[in-house]
């Protein structure tokens, strides 16, 4: 029985995680493409035109998933960074660095698609509204985390400084999420509520969820790809890297 125990901690070291991540990437890419096709089909061909917003509402199928992912990825980044800070595990900190650029990209896409939705609906590309401003701060937190890590030469010190910034910035995530409740904003309320029945058409909801899953799968694939390169860059003289690149 004892030799059947799964060694969970084995995958906590870069040398065993590197090949595992390499095998996982193609699967997540495939899932992202499949869910993306299903989501786009549902969003453009199955979901009906909205009664009040016309076809402009179709931006929701990318705006909401991008916004969710920008918040989720921040929490994941802060989780890995915090774990790296508390336990001094080098793989956790590498994962935090691997997630940050993708999170920043989703935060940018959330603002970009939001501007393109705001213009026809509110008549303005940008307003200094609580929801929009806190999402902009999220983008700056990601960029600050990346800039701070890039500015410190010694990787372990860069990890620690980045972790503190990431953990302090976590406070912004609930602010973004609840901003539409706490303040009077131009932005519409949460698309999905835990306590109420969904107010939108079932097909609209389905399209949004499929696109969100596609974005998730994409984020996992891209983060694993980036984590693999970070591992090689950080430990260039170790034996496992020599074996891995051969």
């Amino acid at each position: 029985m004892s030799n059947r125990v799964i060694h969970w901690f084995r995958y906590g070291s870069p040398q065993s995680f590197y090949p595992l991540a390499g095998k996982m990437v193609p699967w997540f890419v495939m899932l992202a493409v499949l869910f993306g096709i299903a989501g786009l089909w549902t969003g453009f061909f199955v979901a009906p035109t909205d009664a009040t917003q016309g076809d402009a509402y179709r931006i929701i199928f990318i705006h909401v998933p991008a916004s969710w992912l920008s918040m989720f990825l921040y929490l994941i980044m802060a989780f890995w960074a915090g774990l790296g800070l508390a336990l001094n595990t080098r793989l956790s900190s590498m994962m935090a660095s691997a997630v940050a650029p993708t999170g920043a990209m989703f935060a940018f896409l959330s603002l970009w698609t939001g501007a393109l939705w705001g213009k026809p609906m509110w008549g303005a590309w940008w307003v200094w509204d609580a929801r929009l401003t806190s999402e902009l701060i999220l983008l700056f937190l990601y960029l600050g985390f990346m800039a701070l890590q890039a500015a410190i030469d010694e990787p372990r010190r860069a990890d620690k400084a980045g972790a503190i910034l990431a953990l302090v910035g976590v406070i912004n995530v609930p602010i973004i999420y609840f901003s539409v409740k706490w303040w009077n904003t131009l932005h519409q309320g949460a698309s999905i509520s835990m306590s109420k029945a969904p107010s939108m058409a079932k097909t609209m909801l389905l399209g949004m969820l499929l696109m969100a899953i596609a974005c998730w799968m994409y984020s996992i694939a891209v983060s694993l790809m980036r984590a693999r390169t970070i591992m090689l860059e950080r430990e260039p003289n170790s034996e496992w890297v020599k074996h891995a690149v051969e």
Partner: protein, 67 residues
């Protein structure tokens, strides 16, 4: 389906600029990011390989001179 023709679909009820502007930039970002990552990843692997073969050549040269 709510579209009568392909041009009807691309017009997006008059919101073509906003809808395709959103989806176009998102699609571009989601294609460019993995492409750049792959490129950077293979550059790193190539650099490490070069380093490794240079080290080996140095080692064998120093062994030969020692013997």
């Amino acid at each position: 389906m709510q579209w009568n023709s392909a041009s009807d679909f691309f017009a997006m009820g008059g919101y073509a600029f906003y809808v395709w502007g959103s989806f176009g930039v998102t699609a571009a970002a989601l294609l460019i990011e993995p492409f750049l990552l792959r490129k950077h990843g293979s550059e790193v692997v190539c650099g490490l390989r070069r380093q490794l073969s240079a080290d080996r050549a140095m080692n064998s040269a120093s062994e030969e001179s020692a013997s």
